[in-house]
């Protein structure tokens, strides 16, 4: 293993790696057993370093949580002492489901809905030309609307819901709703020039979501 990879491992545990570097590293980790072991050691060392003078739970605790999570996921418990972050990476499926859920929720709440509705036919030319901002999407005849609308309500409510932080965002409110997730997939491919021909256009336009490229 090269020193560069070691440095990357270390940086990655400190969350200091760029996304493309991280992607590459994760691919390597997935293929290389030795790398996975090292990553585990690095994580523990990092925590030990950071622990100096700090309020700090025992390392055994992190292991127990990992083991419990692994057990709940139905995967066999690992006897190797390995940092929880590594355990998560070794099971990308579980981690990704949550991650995808988060993005899905947020994107879903802001993207325009299905393109194949009659809305596009009525779109004024000016609107299709402008790609940098759009009005909050109008409802469409999509089959998924009820689930979607409920999700949008939950997102609108999340400003007030906080008992354990931005829970809905953290855990991804959609990850349990396959149907709605499927709707999100289709919503993402939507061109953004739909302009709702709707009486509330003006009202909505003042407060609607906007897409801006920095």
């Amino acid at each position: 293993m090269t020193d560069t990879v070691k440095e990357q491992l270390s940086a990655c545990l400190d969350s200091q790696l760029r996304q493309d570097e991280l992607d590459l590293l994760l691919k390597r980790v997935a293929k290389d057993r030795e790398l996975r072991r090292t990553l585990g050691r690095y994580a523990l060392t990092g925590e030990a370093l950071r622990g100096s003078g700090a309020v700090r739970a025992s390392t055994g605790f992190a292991d127990r949580v990992s083991a419990a999570v692994a057990a709940e996921d139905g995967s066999p418990q690992r006897s190797v002492r390995i940092a929880p972050s590594v355990v998560r990476w070794l099971r990308p499926a579980a981690g990704f489901a949550v991650a995808a859920g988060v993005a899905t929720v947020a994107v879903l709440s802001l993207q325009p809905s299905a393109p194949e509705s009659n809305i596009i036919a009525q779109a004024p030319p000016a609107a299709s030309a402008s790609n940098d901002s759009y009005i909050v999407p109008a409802n469409t005849v999509s089959n998924f609307v009820p689930a979607t609308r409920l999700t949008n309500y939950v997102v609108a409510h999340s400003e007030y819901s906080s008992p354990l932080g931005l829970r809905t965002v953290l855990s991804g409110v959609l990850s349990e709703e396959d149907e709605a997730a499927a709707a999100a997939e289709s919503a993402e491919d939507v061109s953004q020039d739909a302009f709702p021909d709707d009486a509330s256009r003006n009202a909505a336009g003042k407060s609607g979501a906007q897409v801006r490229q920095p």
Binding site: R18, Q19, L22, L26, L49, S52, A54, V55, S58, G60, F61, A62, V65, V69, E72, D73, R88, A94, G95, V98, A103, A106, V107, S109, L110, P137, N139, V141, V145, P146, T148, R149, L150, Y153, A156, H157, E159, Y160, S161, S162, P163, L164, G165, L166, L170, S171, E176, D198, A199, S200, R201, N202, A203, A204, S207, G208, A209, R212, Q213, P214
Partner: protein, 344 residues
């Protein structure tokens, strides 16, 4: 690099306690926790656990002149980050090359990771029983005191808090139902107190350059006649109307009435909009993540109550929604109201 944690701040906290004080009671423990969260700089690692799901994250919590800013970094490999400051919550989703920006009202502290945990007040005590459970217990390798904030009725969830004896920080916090079953929890694996946290530490790892930026403003839509006309009767004990507004919500083609009810700790939103004849109606109870939603049809309108509260609460609040007597249906905002036809 070896980062040094300082302990002087929490020593100050300890010294600030009166020397003659007997064992602090549950109320004092809660007050200590609230103070620690509002005054303490810290960074650390925690697990957010709900059901079989667990997510490990890093947190950097900075208090500057009374303002809390936070950075949460997901450690699942997605590179996701949530940055909260006084006015915005910004979610960086590098895996989607997307950045979400959400404006916040003044309640920023309450929406920080632990800012929504119960803080002591007399009204809290009328709705929740606040007690210490046992003496000092070893939790996560530290000496902690367990404090239970237990609902007095079936309309709200409770909290169990494991508060660090030295710092009063909640090393473990659980949201529980009335039977004490855990719904969700946050477990710290590491907390480092810091005297100072540099502003640079709250910057995200990615700049977001070239990403799609989605901004959602929450500024209310002003539509004449829409802010009144609906109310909720027979609210569960302690719940009061705290906000009433009209806003544009994605997926709804007319502005939506949004009423907010709170008992001081738990919050329920009620959304009311004219029934869309093309959309499938929503009926009854649904679970969405940690929240419950209850929908019903009322007078040509779709009424939905949403909140991270027991199912009974959203159901009771949705059931109590009524249209005020003599309220005229709101005129369409874009078309002038039709002239009244007087009988011959």
């Amino acid at each position: 690099m070896l980062r040094r944690a300082t302990s002087s701040l929490f020593l100050c906290c300890l010294l600030a306690l009166p020397a003659h004080a007997a064992e602090p009671d549950a109320k004092q423990w809660l007050e200590r926790m609230t103070r620690a969260l509002a005054e303490q700089n810290y960074e650390g690692f925690f697990f957010h656990v709900r059901g079989a799901r667990s997510e490990r994250m890093r947190i950097i919590h900075r208090v500057d002149r009374g303002q809390v800013s936070e950075r949460l970094v997901s450690l699942d490999g997605s590179g996701r980050e949530i940055i909260r400051n006084a006015s915005e919550v910004i979610c960086y989703l590098p895996d989607r090359r997307t950045v979400l920006v959400e404006k916040r009202s003044e309640r920023t502290d309450a929406t920080s990771l632990l800012g929504g945990l119960p803080s002591y007040s007399e009204s809290l005590e009328t709705l929740y029983d606040i007690s210490k459970i046992g003496g000092v217990v070893k939790t996560l390798g530290r000496k902690t005191q367990v404090v239970w904030v237990q609902p007095r009725d079936q309309y709200r969830y409770g909290y169990r808090l494991w508060l660090d004896q030295e710092t009063a920080l909640p090393l473990k916090s659980q949201l529980c139902d009335r039977q004490g079953r855990v719904i969700e929890q946050i477990l710290f694996s590491e907390v480092n107190l810091r005297e100072r946290i540099a502003a640079a530490d709250l910057k995200p790892a990615v700049s977001g350059e070239g990403y799609t930026w989605l901004r959602q403003t929450t500024q209310p839509v002003v539509v004449a006649g829409m802010t009144v006309g609906w109310s909720v009767i027979r609210l569960p004990a302690g719940f009061k109307l705290t906000e009433r507004r009209v806003q544009a919500i994605a997926g709804s083609n007319t502005p939506v009435r949004h009423l907010v009810f709170s008992d001081g700790l738990a919050t329920v939103s009620v959304f009311i909009e004219p029934r869309d004849t093309q959309a499938e109606p929503m009926h009854g109870l649904k679970r969405v993540g940690a929240a419950f939603a209850y929908s019903r049809d009322l007078d040509g309108h779709q009424v939905t109550a949403v909140g991270e509260v027991p199912a009974a609460t959203v159901e009771a609040i949705a059931a109590g929604v009524m249209r005020d007597e003599g309220d005229e249906p709101p005129a369409d905002s874009a078309t002038p109201a039709a002239p009244a036809v007087s009988p011959p």
